[in-house]
Amino acid sequence: MSKRWVSLRRLRQLGMLGMNCRNVDFINRYNDRKLFPLVDNKLKTKLLAQEYDVPTPSLRCVVREQHEISHIERQLADMDSFALKPAKGSGGKGIVVVIGRKGDDFVRSSGALLSLADIRRHMSNILAGLYSLGGASDVAIVEDLVAFDDCFSGYSYEGVPDIRIIVFQGYPVMAMLRLATHASDGKANLHQGAVGVGLSLDDGRCLNAVQFSKSVKTHPDTERSLSDIQVPGWRDILVLAAQCCDMTGLGYIGTDLVLDKALGPQLLELNARPGLSIQVANGRGLLPRLRHIEGLTGRRRLSPEQRVDYCMRHFVAVGGQSQPGIL
């Protein structure tokens, strides 16, 4: 039986992080405003990642000016599949994933066809700032499409499954796998209807899964059981996430990673204001873990690998149940 409301006491007991608390106690305190552009602008993130040797899908071209759009077909000519994104887009807005060609048209991940004119109009919208915060003018970036790993086949519908890891002070504190669904239109955003699968930090196992804030056991489109999920190469993924903190200097970030068939974990984008739904997917609150890290001494001396090992040891969840004493 699903209730309509949860009691305040229960939220406190679970250590759920609320939006106000996140903004005041974590984002405002640990994220320096002047560093925000590094993550709000995907182009900057990408260039920064290349500098730090953090693997990320390679950049194919950047469209900065309106006039470049008129001969964009030359740039796109040798690309069968690509992702077109606004550099300053938020919440997955404005991302077009092209997986192939059909004559002169482009095939979207959803199977819909886009003409070259559609692509041009979309780019022009991106440049005008339609998808950027506050309508600031933007640039469009075209990058390689990730050939996502087969381990998730049957788990994601029309989209790339990505792994969201919250990294606090360089320590990965919570992780979830986001699976696109038909309802989410191939996007991996939970509020749009993607399935969120909470992942255990020690081995990348499924803890719990939700869609639209309700528990689910199977993927709604493919009917595959979600509890079987175990992400391969888990430690490498966590290390990659932990590196992102050193790279940006931001204390509280959400890292979005994907698993490429050939290249392994890739950094897709960073978020300086990561959402709160990851807690629902994990069935536990972030606060105890965040406070625990805040209380650590000498936490800055450790390397990303050491920090990951620390988290893998300490933030162990037992079966998706939250128990007292376990962070």
């Binding site: 309509r4 949860v6 229960r10 609320g18 106000n20 608390c21 022009s124 005008a128 629902v280």
Partner: protein
């Protein structure tokens, strides 16, 4: 932790300063905390006319005291082109003095005073100051007549005031006997006669000139009255009727033996009064009464009326902002655009709620319909929004004109909506519609409207309206409240629903 404590101390201090200033303003300037209290104000104008003879002119008019029984003076002006004007005060008397080196022909001088009805004690001053104990030399026949009259009055009285009353009754009695007729023949003015008679009895008297205040009267003159001393206090007596005490509408303009009007350098001088009664909100009164005080300088009232009405709106904005902060931080309602709801609420203030809601929703709905066509045109964003602005203006004009022809003048008020904001709202909502579906549009649009209506309801509350305008310092309290909410790290109300899945675990 320590930092937090300082922060909250500052907040509490801020709120306290705001409240204390408001209380001080209330006690010192009398600005009421509640709207709608009004007081009667009399505007009395004295007009002095005389014919100047060509030389230097000095005209001196006796003025009412700052505090006379039943009335308090709070503003006075003199209008008299070319004349030097000053108000002289000696002892209890105040006199207006107009001076000019050279004047010829008809001259008119004006003095006007604003008087408030006050409920100060209605008795004249206690003690026995400058009165006169008249000792007139009577002619033998009159002496006899006066004695007779006084004897008769004394028989039926027990105190100075009853003696006075009886005396006046005798003088007034239609069956007047020889004695009263004899006395009258010489002293035309009854007030003088009564004073002379009382003087013979050893009772101190003073002459007083009073002005009966009646709404919208012109060319009134002063009425002679007398004051008698009972041994303990002065009492006002109407020499015509014998009534004791000061009538509620009588303004004591002049007291004592000096003449009311003195004009040197002119002739045919006379003074006439006109008056009008106004009902002024107590707030406005307090403003005028304290035009020199620090509070009036810190208040908005010192500004020209036009600016004031603008400030009336500006000072309401903090209320709206507080509502938005509350609804977003504590409740967690989604709105499209952070402060757009306040702007809509401000527009509602001009249009009133229901017509405002109807016109807002219809404009946005029509805009969305047109916008869906625009999205097919493949326009640049800025051009698209500019197009939307033009379209919104078309829609608004069309609605106004149709409304006007159908006989709804409310259609016109639609123009109060901030058009650019509406255009942006339409654009945002249309994008939202395309990306997240109609449900999200309804959630955010509905949220905006709920917040706007709430902000409107709060901003149009008479009491809050009155408080923010008359006590701008109360906005400090509001500011403290907003800052405190800015530090709130607890859950939002909507999060209790958002995290409802947590209960099943």
């Amino acid at each position: 932790m320590n930092q937090k404590r300082t922060f909250f101390t500052v907040l509490v201090l801020m709120a306290l300063i705001g409240i204390l200033t408001a209380v001080l303003r209330h006690t010192i300037s009398g600005t009421p905390f509640f709207p709608g209290q009004s007081t009667s104000v009399w505007l009395v104008e004295a007009r002095v006319d005389f014919e100047a003879t060509g030389g230097p002119v000095t005209a001196s008019l006796s003025l009412p005291g700052l505090k006379t029984p039943g009335f308090a003076l709070y503003e006075e002006q003199a209008a008299s082109p070319g004349y030097g004007f000053s108000i002289l005060e000696e002892n209890d008397n105040r006199r207006a003095e107009w001076t000019k080196r050279e004047a010829t022909g008809e001259q008119s001088l004006y003095y006007s005073a604003h008087l408030v009805e006050s409920d100060q004690d209605n008795s004249s001053d206690v003690g026995k100051p400058a009165g006169e104990n008249r000792n007139v030399a009577w002619e033998a026949a009159q002496e006899l007549a006066a004695k007779e009259v006084l004897d008769r009055a004394r028989e039926t009285s027990s105190s100075p005031q009853s003696l006075t009353r009886e005396l006046i009754k005798l003088l007034n009695s239609p069956a007047s006997n020889q004695n009263t007729a004899l006395l009258r023949s010489d002293n035309v003015d009854q007030a003088e006669l009564v004073m002379n008679l009382l003087g013979r009895e050893g009772i101190a008297t003073r002459s007083v000139m009073g002005l009966y205040l009646e709404d919208a009267r012109r060319r009134q003159t002063l009425t002679p009255m007398i004051e008698i001393h009972t041994g303990r206090e002065w009492l006002l007596v109407n020499p015509q009727t014998g009534e004791v005490g000061i009538p509620a509408n009588l303004l004591l303009w002049h007291r004592g033996g000096v003449s009311v009007l003195d004009v040197s350098g002119g002739g045919k001088s006379q003074v006439a009064f006109s008056m009008i009664k106004q009902t002024v909100p107590a707030a406005q009164l307090a403003k005028a009464q304290n035009s020199g005080s620090i509070f009036s300088r810190l208040g908005v009232h010192g500004l020209p009326i036009e600016e004031q009405s603008m400030f009336k709106f500006l000072l309401l904005l903090p209320l709206g902002a507080a509502v938005v902060v509350f609804m977003r931080v504590m409740i967690g309602l989604k709105t499209s655009g952070t402060f757009m709801p306040i702007l809509i609420a401000l527009a509602f203030l001009q249009t009133s709620l229901v017509p405002g809601l109807i016109s807002f929703i219809s404009v946005v709905a029509m805009g969305l319909a047109l916008r869906s066509y625009l999205s097919r045109l493949n326009l640049l964003l800025v051009a698209r929004i500019a197009t939307l602005i033009v379209l919104v203006i078309f829609i608004i004009s069309a609605l106004s004109i149709i409304g006007y022809h159908l006989g709804y003048s409310t259609g016109m008020t639609i123009t109060f909506f901030p058009m650019i904001i509406i255009a942006w709202t339409i654009e945002r909502m249309s994008i939202l519609w395309e990306e997240e579906g109609s449900q999200e549009v309804l959630i955010q649009g509905g949220g905006s409207l709920v917040v706007a209506v709430l902000a409107y309801l709060i901003m149009q509350t008479q009491l809050l309206n009155h408080l923010t305008f008359n006590f701008p310092e109360l906005n400090l309290v509001l500011l403290a409240l907003i800052l405190a909410m800015g530090q709130y790290t607890g859950y939002k109300l909507t999060e209790l629903r958002r995290f409802r899945a947590m209960d099943e675990l």
